[in-house]
């Protein structure tokens, strides 16, 4: 049971908003010590895992080009471009992005979009601009909500699209784990069973995006009174 103490450290640490890097390394030390390892052994195991996981941080190679495009006005261009289309609302734009993200993920194209390369430079500024067209005095809180919803839409689209693709990591993990337990399933069966959830996710999150529009326009109508 004491093995779970490290999990407790993570929950309490994050709840109290202690610096997350400190929380993680403390949780690793506590977990390892409870499992009977010495501090040096835990630190070595953590160091090895950290070194083996460096590929996780490779994506930061996009930072210079994303920053450079901000410097020369990409966000401002995206804003003025989207505000020319009067029919485009924040919710409709994000609904379109949700569909795009789900469909591309379902055919295995996970890295064609993402937080650094599309949400920050394009989608979030466009979603904000579409709301500005309808309400010039949009509040900072609403702006933050719209940006957060843009990131959320990327995640929902990715998570509930990718498992429809046969060769994705999670499908291969399931096939491998079941095979190790003498249960043989084909990747195709698993990906077919992901389709009902994918459709449900589009309807549920899509409905929330439509409600977001209604919420934003309600506020602007109230402002005019």
């Amino acid at each position: 049971m004491w093995t779970l103490l490290g999990v407790g450290v993570v929950i309490v640490g994050f709840a109290l908003r202690v610096n997350a890097l400190l929380v993680v390394i403390t949780a690793a030390l506590v977990t390892g010590l409870m499992a009977g390892l010495s501090a040096v052994e835990v630190l070595s195991a953590f160091g090895k895992a950290f070194n083996d996981s460096r590929f996780v941080s490779i994506a930061w190679l996009v930072l210079p080009v994303i920053g450079l495009l901000e410097r020369v006005g990409l966000q401002e261009h995206a804003r003025s471009f989207i505000s020319r289309f009067k029919a485009v609302t924040t919710g409709r734009l994000l609904l379109l992005y949700l569909a795009f993200r789900q469909v591309t993920a379902a055919i295995g194209l996970l890295s064609v979009a993402g937080h650094a390369q599309s949400v920050k430079p394009l989608i979030a500024p466009m979603a904000e601009a579409a709301a500005e067209v309808r309400n010039k005095d949009i509040s900072d809180a609403d702006r933050e909500d719209i940006r957060a919803m843009s990131a959320a839409t990327d995640n929902v689209g990715l998570f509930f699209g990718e498992d429809v693709f046969l060769a994705i990591g999670s499908i291969l993990l399931m096939v491998g784990f079941l095979a190790a337990n003498n249960i043989i399933v084909a990747p195709l069966e698993l990906s077919l069973w992901a389709i009902p959830t994918a459709i449900a996710a589009f309807l549920v999150h899509g409905a929330r995006l439509v409600l977001l529009d209604r919420n934003l326009s309600g506020k602007s109508a109230g402002g005019r009174k």
Partner: protein, 317 residues
């Protein structure tokens, strides 16, 4: 053959440049410790294979201590003003979209083309690594194109990259740290304990309750571990296979696939899935680091209920 090792050198050099630029930036009140942080990160990329496991452990400890003691500050890298950017947007117009669209286009093309090019009997890039390697190439190609199209000097991409890195701060390191924590959890057998607890609370006579324990357990354990991949083997071995598949005769593919998706609902609700939830909050400069999670919770809870219902309705016919 091009592998991740090639990219580690590039990433190491990039963060080393950030460190040097930070060191010389006197507008950052914490320029020494901030430079130390990016410098240590660069060292991990450049020398991680040379300094041994304990060496890497000490390096991570140092990174956590610098960040945890408030050592990271923000500089004021040389960038453009809001008015400059509006003027640029009017001048360059749709040309600005060219490098932005090159990133997905080259990533996509590279993912398929690079593994098909043979070099001395081996593919130029292993298929497994082709997406990330293509993304890195795409970023470099788009960056060079942008510098030429918009006549920017060589320091601009590095100053702008450092500006974003300072904005993200220690959260840039969190995904890799959490992946490592998962490895330590696995080593200590955390999963086995959770699996035992889950299998003890499942009743033998109620299919509905067993499905709920499995789906909700998948989401909860995913929240604790930060990803569904770590939760899946635990809940599948503890509840999925012995109860849902063997006792109740569930369809293995449906139990596995919908269970994994129930886990993804947990991913949407946890700060431990840092690259999906915490990093974007930093990138979008949201005041509340958990704002993206707050935006996702309604969708995640409804989807968790629907996944549970779908499994109960479809997997046991």
């Amino acid at each position: 053959m091009i592998t991740y090792s090639t990219l580690y050198v590039l990433a190491g050099l990039l963060f080393a440049i950030f460190a040097v630029l930070t060191l010389r930036d006197w507008t950052n009140p914490k320029n020494y410790t901030t430079a130390l942080f990016w410098g240590l990160f660069a060292t991990s990329f450049l020398a991680g294979d040379l300094i041994g496991d304990l060496g890497n452990g000490i390096l991570v400890l140092a990174l956590a201590l610098v960040a945890g003691t408030g050592g990271l500050g923000m500089g004021r890298p040389d960038t453009t003003s809001a008015d400059d950017r509006k003027a640029f947007a009017i001048t360059f117009r749709h040309r600005l979209m060219i490098p932005a669209l090159m990133i997905p286009a080259i990533t996509l093309a590279g993912t398929f083309v690079l593994p098909a090019i043979p070099i001395g009997g081996e593919p130029l890039v292993a298929a497994k690594q082709s997406t990330l390697i293509s993304l890195a190439f795409a970023a470099i190609a788009a960056g060079i194109t942008a510098m030429i199209l918009f006549r920017q000097n060589i320091s601009a991409p590095f100053q702008e990259g450092r500006r974003l890195a300072d904005t993200i701060g220690w959260a840039a390191l969190l995904p890799q740290m959490l992946a490592s924590l998962g490895a330590v959890f696995a080593l200590a057998g955390v999963g086995n304990v959770v699996g035992d607890i889950a299998s003890q609370v499942v009743p033998h006579d109620s299919l509905l309750i067993a499905v709920i324990v499995y789906c909700v357990g998948m989401a909860l354990f995913t929240m604790v571990m930060g990803n569904a991949f770590a939760a899946f083997p635990v809940l599948m071995a503890g509840v999925g296979i012995p109860f849902l598949i063997e006792d109740f005769g569930g369809n293995p593919a449906a139990v596995a696939a919908i269970g994994m998706l129930a886990g993804f609902c947990g991913t949407l609700m946890t700060p431990l899935a840092a690259n999906f939830n915490i990093v974007p909050a930093a990138l979008l400069e949201l005041k509340d680091r958990n704002h993206v999670i707050r935006a996702q919770i309604p969708t995640a809870l409804i989807m968790l209920a629907l996944n549970t219902a779908l499994m109960y309705a479809l997997a046991f016919n």
